[in-house]
Amino acid sequence: MARVLSFTIVLGTAVTVILFWRRVWWFPPNISTQGAGVDREFGLTLLVTGILFVAAQLILAYCIGRGRKSGRAAYNTGNLRMEVARAVLAAATFIGLALSSYRTWARMYFIGAPRNALRIQVEAEQFAYWFRYPGPDGVFGPMHLRLVNDATGNYFGLDPTRDPASRDDIVTATLGIPENRPIELLLMSRDVIHSFYVPQLRIQQDIVPGMVIPIHFTATRTGDYEIVCTQLCGLGHYAMRAPLKVMKEPNFKKWLAKQAAEQ
């Protein structure tokens, strides 16, 4: 049994290392400016934890396979200096890792969006996302709860007859954004907690009813992606998603104009 178990542990460790090394299953490619920081942080942590993982499993396998076969075990009740040294080393390593993630986190959340950022409102409901662009005036018209009506397509409760700022607002079901321009999303929910997650953007943020949560990012690669909900929101949770379309600036302008025309 000793051999079976230590062999199993060594084999399992080897398979795990190979699967990580060859990147058989891996992150989708990063398409945002802060994503590189996330990926670098993941890689660094993987390196450190990987070494600890392999070391611990192999020592365990060794102890099982090579235990004493005769005589008594060694009478050893511990070694305080060694224990303290290892605890300090572990603390330094782990805290170092946590601190090394500071810059990426600060870039995501401590610093606000740049002034030239394109601001878009996101309204989540069971089980869809709606997006609102402020239009040429750059102002979001006020929202009126009473007017919210999915059947007539008034997802944000706008009243263009009374509020001039609402007249040029553009509401879409697709989040279209220009490439290489800072985007600020204002996340709002109408019913329960939802979440905004685009794996390629390396962004995930819960959308909490009663709060407006801003996030910002810059997409660096054009293409069609998916926004998915990651916070359990009810029976349609698994199917709650919206398309994300990253376009070159001129294409984005055209796309937005087309959306405005269809309102």
């Binding site: 069971q126 709060m211 998916e226």
Partner: protein, 594 residues
Amino acid sequence: MTPTHSQAIPRKAARGFLRKYVFSTDHQIIGKQYYFLALFSALVAMLLSWLMRVHLAWPRLAIPGLGELSAAGAPNGMMTPEYYLSLLTMHGTLMIFFVLTTAPQSGFGNCFLPAQIGADEMAFPRLNMLSFWLTFTSLGALLSSFWARGGPATSGWTAYPPLSGLGSITGPGEGWGQSLWIISIALFCVGSLLGALNFITTTLDLRARGMTLMRMPLTAWAWFVTAILMLLSFAVLLAACVLLMLDRAAGTSFFIPAGLIVSGQMIQGHQGGSPLLWEHLFWFFGHPEVYIAILPAMGLTSHLLSCFARKPVFGYRAMVWATIAIGFLGFLVWGHHMFVSGMNPYSAFAFSVLTVVIAVPSAVKTFNWLGTLWGGRLRLTTAMLFALGFVSIFVSGGLSGIFLAEPPVDVQLHATYFVVAHFHLVMGMAAMFGIFSGTYFWFPKMFGRMMNETLGKIHFILTFIGAYCVFMPMYFLGMAGNVRRYAQFVDPYLQPLMPLHRFITVAALGLGAAQMIFVFNLFGSLFGGEKAGENPWEATTLEWVAASAGKDLVVYRGAYEYAVPGKEKDYVMQNAPDASGSRAEKGARDGNAN
């Protein structure tokens, strides 16, 4: 009526079957009741996980028998998305509360905490009985929601409002099912609080002469610290449940914000509440709960590695302090469940640093387990195999916690299968390995017979390989952006991952099937096992002291005196008097000083 000299009364013989085995105040019977309650819950929860896994891998497959179980939840055996969420909620709740909290702490703890510290009963036996029956009622309330209108709750074991706070308008299962869930958890809280009170008092007051705190077995230490965690954290969960119930039933607005529109209907009467408040209260309980599940298994692993390596625990004091440190720090890190919740990002970073600090005592424990094994003479009993498996699985699950502790990395991995892999390995599987090793180890003491070792070894190797095959691939799923709690995978980007999902499902079916070997072995040995001796594992702690030694135990030494040079046998029991009188005297004095 009340004796003044109670050593004069023998323990009252229990009257009749009902008082002896059902409404018993005997800690051993209560421990076994908890154990079998947990075993039953684990089997139900495992069955639910099978149904979920099959549905995920083959969403169009009609599952035989499921249509009969719930006509609404699975018409013709085809699971609806809301029924999937019900099963998910029930699986999580059963496992976290009724298995991982119940078996290692209330089950084994009740059976062996008094025995290990040399007490012959818990401090409050009647309270103990009440704790069990509250837990039993709580389980009944939870399971009854399977037959409630709309089915069981669908909001997961975390029950975030407003989903859980508005009633059936947010979905079937959020009516009666969710109410029953809250009632069940509130009852469980009360039962656990009373149980914790009993454990702490017993440990503080009823230790045998000479049993100083620093001579207690690490299992007893783990039960003690776990009880403190339960005492403080379940009180907060109980308060949170009261608030949530008031929001649902009395129209208050603790967690429900103003101006909600659900399914096109405006929600009236609520104003200004905060869902984040629930998240804070819940995780203030939720994170210590993780340690409530794992600390007893950690203690047991230390205990067994020493016993079966025939070697003292490496760094006993460090182990004790690590346990205490985990217990203390466990209350300071709840925010790491909320990095993407909309919480203040500055406090998120503070939580991140505190979270990696809690990894240090866990690392110390792992070092010391390996240190205990190093140079040992291993006896690979099934109990020992599961303890070794625990170390391996704990490392594989625990290290991924470092990723999730770093906020920017968590942003990418939060709510994906990476997290599912992490907590199933480090808390679920590791604690299950603890429960298994405890069962194989203490079965002879609990039932007077030995379990079959051959079946045990087959069970171990299948469980060990199965656990890795089921949960390691989930790390890769999570890295690929596979979101958890999805009833089906309809997104195009998830389709390439389906083969991996099918592999996991097949492995899960195999892992579950292997548990039948355990059930068969358990019940088979219960009636047909080989009769056990007084101390079959040649262990040192007091639960293995022969009954003939009498009740008047005196403890002379620490719990892990294996391979002591110059001794006749390779182990010295805690109650074995020392040849030199001076040491015995010191021990007795220490015992009273505490």
